[in-house]
C-alpha cells in the first residue's frame, strides 16, 4: 500500500465518531478526499455511479482559470516594470508579478478556507470544493494595488454573506467571488474603483515620465463630448492588439480577453461551463454595443461610438462572461433560461459600462443583478415548458 495512504489510515482514528477530534472530521475529510478518491459506496438503488464528482467538476474550472492566472502574474509584473522603467525580461517580470499577486491569492485562500472550515465544523458537514474556485476567481478580479487586509475583509464577507448565511455552496444565490468584490467596491471605493491600477513596488520617484497608468476604460469613460474615445485611448498608448491579448493595466487576471476565450473553450468542451450563458452574454454585449453605435451622435457620450471590437476586448467582459456568469449555482437552473440570462448580462453590463461614468466597469454589477433575477427567468421559462407536456397529475 501507498505509504501516504497508510499514514492517513493511521491519522483517521482520532477523528472517528466518539473519538476526541470527532468535531474536526470535516477537516480531515477535506484533506483526505483532496488526496485520495473517496471510499464511500452507494446506498440507493443506483448502485454504480459516474466518475464525475464535485471535485472533478471544480478542478475543471481551476484548469480553465490557470492560463488567466499565470498571465495575470506576468502582466502585473510587466505593467509594474513598465511604469517604473525596469528591465522587461521574462524572469524578473514574473518575479515581480509573483511578488505582488501570490500574497493576494494566498490571503484569499487562507482567510476563505478558515471561514469555510469554521462553518463546516460548526455545521458538521463536509467542506465543499466550490471554494477552491471562488478562492482563485476572487483575487483575479481584484486590482493588483489592493491592500492585503482588504482582500481578507472582502473574502470574509463573500464567504459569509454571499454563501454561508444561505447554507453553503449550492444554496447561495449570489456568486460569492463577485459578492466579495462588490463589497470591497462599495466599502473601499478608493482602492478599487480608482483609475490607476498598476502596482508599483519600487519607490515612487522612479516612475517613468509620462506614466499615467489610467486604465483604458477610465480613459474611454472620461472622454469629453467632441473627442473620440478610441483616439483618446490610442493617444494614451492603447491599441486593440494589446487590449485583446491583455498587456494593459487592469484587474489581475481579467485583462486578457484571448486567454479568457481559451478558458471558455475549455469549459465548453468539458461541458462544465454553460455555452448558452457565454453565447448569450456575447450576443447581448454585441447587440448593445451596436445599438450604442447606431444612436451615437456628436452630442451623446463619446463612449457610444466606440468600435465593437474595442468594446469586447476591453476590461473584464470576456473574463466575466466566461468565469463569473457561468457559475452554475447562481445561474438559472434551466439550460434554456441560461441563454436569456447571459444575454441580459451582456446588455446590462454594456449599459452600465458605457452610460454610467460612476462605475468604471459593468460586469460585476450586471452579473450580480441577474443572479438575483435568475429564479424569475427560470419561472417564466418553466411555465412555457409545462405547457408543452401532456399533463400527468392525479
Amino acid at each position: 500500500m501507498n505509504p501516504l495512504r497508510a499514514l492517513f489510515d493511521k491519522l483517521e482514528k482520532p477523528f472517528h465518531k466518539g473519538a476526541p477530534l470527532e468535531k474536526y472530521y470535516p477537516l480531515f475529510e477535506a484533506m483526505e478526499s483532496f488526496l485520495f478518491s473517496t471510499r464511500l459506496v452507494t446506498k440507493s438503488k443506483v448502485h454504480v455511479r459516474d466518475n464525475l464528482g464535485t471535485k472533478r467538476f471544480m478542478s475543471m474550472v481551476l484548469f480553465a482559470l490557470t492560463p488567466c492566472a499565470l498571465f495575470g502574474i506576468y502582466n502585473t509584473g510587466y505593467q509594474s516594470h513598465l511604469a517604473s522603467g525596469l528591465s522587461l525580461d521574462l524572469v524578473s517580470v514574473v518575479l515581480t508579478g509573483a511578488q505582488i499577486v501570490l500574497p493576494i491569492v494566498i490571503v484569499s485562500y487562507a482567510v476563505g478556507l478558515f471561514w469555510e472550515f469554521l462553518f463546516c465544523v460548526i455545521r458538521g458537514h463536509e467542506v465543499n470544493e466550490g471554494f477552491l474556485v471562488t478562492g482563485l476567481l476572487y483575487p483575479l478580479i481584484l486590482p493588483p494595488t489592493i491592500p492585503l487586509w482588504q482582500v481578507a475583509v472582502g473574502i470574509t464577507f463573500g464567504v459569509i454573506v454571499g454563501k454561508e448565511v444561505f447554507g453553503g455552496t449550492g444554496r447561495n444565490f449570489l456568486n460569492p467571488a463577485l459578492t466579495a468584490r462588490a463589497f470591497l467596491f462599495f466599502t473601499y471605493p478608493a482602492s478599487i474603483s480608482g483609475e490607476v491600477w498598476t502596482a508599483i513596488i519600487t519607490s515612487k520617484d522612479k516612475i517613468v515620465d509620462g506614466f499615467s497608468g489610467a486604465t483604458a476604460l477610465a480613459i474611454a469613460a472620461a472622454t469629453e463630448a467632441p473627442n473620440n474615445a478610441q483616439l483618446a485611448m490610442e493617444s494614451a498608448g492603447y491599441n486593440l492588439n494589446d487590449l485583446f491579448i491583455g498587456f494593459v493595466p487592469g484587474s489581475i487576471g481579467e485583462t486578457s480577453a484571448a486567454l479568457a476565450i481559451v478558458g471558455g473553450l475549455f469549459l465548453i468542451i468539458t461541458g462544465v461551463g454553460s455555452w448558452r450563458t457565454m453565447l448569450g452574454g456575447f450576443l447581448g454585449a454585441v447587440s448593445m454595443s451596436l445599438l450604442f453605435n447606431y444612436f451615437a451622435t456628436s452630442s451623446t457620450l463619446p463612449f457610444f461610438q466606440l468600435d465593437l471590437l474595442w468594446q469586447l476586448s476591453m476590461g473584464g467582459f470576456a473574463f466575466g462572461i466566461v468565469f463569473m456568469a457561468t457559475d452554475p449555482v447562481s445561474s438559472p437552473a434551466l439550460e434554456s433560461s441560461r441563454f436569456i440570462y447571459g444575454f441580459l448580462i451582456g446588455m446590462l453590463g454594456m449599459i452600465i459600462r458605457v452610460i454610467n461614468p460612476a462605475y468604471p466597469e459593468g460586469w460585476m454589477l450586471a452579473i450580480l443583478l441577474m443572479n438575483v433575477f435568475a429564479p424569475l427567468i427560470d419561472y417564466v421559462v418553466l411555465q412555457k415548458r409545462k405547457k408543452k407536456r401532456i399533463r400527468n397529475v392525479i
Binding site: 491592500p147 487586509w149 454573506v161 448565511v165 463589497f183 466599502t187 473601499y188
Partner: protein
C-alpha cells in the same frame, strides 16, 4: 410575587426578547435606515420614539372605552401626532444639533408602523398600566437594535463612537480605511440581516 413573574414584566420583556419589532416583525426599518449612521442621533431617536410610544399607548389605552370603533384610527393619529410634535419641539429647543441631523425623521415617527401597530394591537385591548410597559418595552426593543446597528455603522464606517475618534490616526497612516458601505443604506440591511441571523441561531440553540 417575583418580579419576573408579573404580567407587567412579561409585557415589558416580550418585545425585547421574542417579539422584537425590528428583528422579528421587521417593522420600522425606514427609520432604522435613516438615523443609524451615528450613535448619538440613534440614541436620541430611540428616546423620542420610546417617549411617543409609551405615552400614545397609555393615552389610547385610557381612551379605549370611549373611542368609537369606526374613527379610532383618526383618534390614534391625533394622539400620536400631538406627542410627536411635542417631542420634536423639545428636541429643537434643547438639542438643536441632533434635531437637525434627525431632520424629518422625528416628524416621521407619526408614520412609524410600530406605534400604530402597538396602539391597535395592544393598547386598545389592555389597561394603561400594561400598555405603558408594552410601550416602553417596544421602544427599547426597537432601541437596542437601533443602537447596536448604529454602533457598528459608526465604528466601521467612520472609526468613531458618539463622535469620538476611536481608531487612531496611526492606523490610517498604515493604510486602514473606513468602510464606506456602512454609511450607505445597504450597510444597514447587511448589519440587520446579520443580527437577525445571529438571533435565529441563538434561538434555535435554546429551543
Amino acid at each position: 410575587m417575583k418580579l419576573t413573574k408579573t404580567k407587567a414584566y412579561k409585557t415589558f420583556m416580550a418585545p425585547i426578547k421574542d417579539a422584537n419589532p425590528i428583528s422579528v416583525a421587521v417593522l420600522g426599518i425606514c427609520s432604522a435606515l435613516a438615523v443609524t449612521t451615528q450613535v448619538m442621533p440613534a440614541i436620541v431617536m430611540v428616546l423620542a420614539m420610546t417617549f411617543v410610544l409609551t405615552f400614545s399607548n397609555v393615552s389610547i389605552s385610557l381612551l379605549r372605552k370611549i373611542i368609537p370603533k369606526n374613527i379610532r384610527i383618526i383618534v390614534e393619529l391625533v394622539v400620536i401626532a400631538s406627542l410627536v410634535i411635542l417631542a420634536d419641539q423639545f428636541l429643537k429647543a434643547f438639542l438643536f444639533d441632533v434635531s437637525k441631523q434627525l431632520s424629518v425623521f422625528v416628524g416621521l415617527i407619526i408614520t412609524n408602523c410600530i406605534i400604530m401597530g402597538r396602539a391597535e394591537a395592544f393598547a386598545l385591548a389592555n389597561g394603561p398600566w400594561l400598555s405603558m410597559w408594552d410601550g416602553i418595552g417596544n421602544g427599547l426593543g426597537y432601541g437596542y437594535i437601533l443602537i447596536v446597528v448604529a454602533i457598528f455603522r459608526e465604528f466601521l464606517g467612520a472609526g468613531s463612537l458618539l463622535g469620538f475618534k476611536l481608531i487612531p490616526q496611526s492606523f490610517y497612516d498604515m493604510g486602514y480605511q473606513d468602510m464606506g458601505i456602512m454609511l450607505l443604506a445597504p450597510g444597514v440591511f447587511i448589519v440587520i440581516g446579520l443580527l437577525v441571523w445571529l438571533e435565529n441561531i441563538l434561538k434555535s440553540k435554546k429551543a
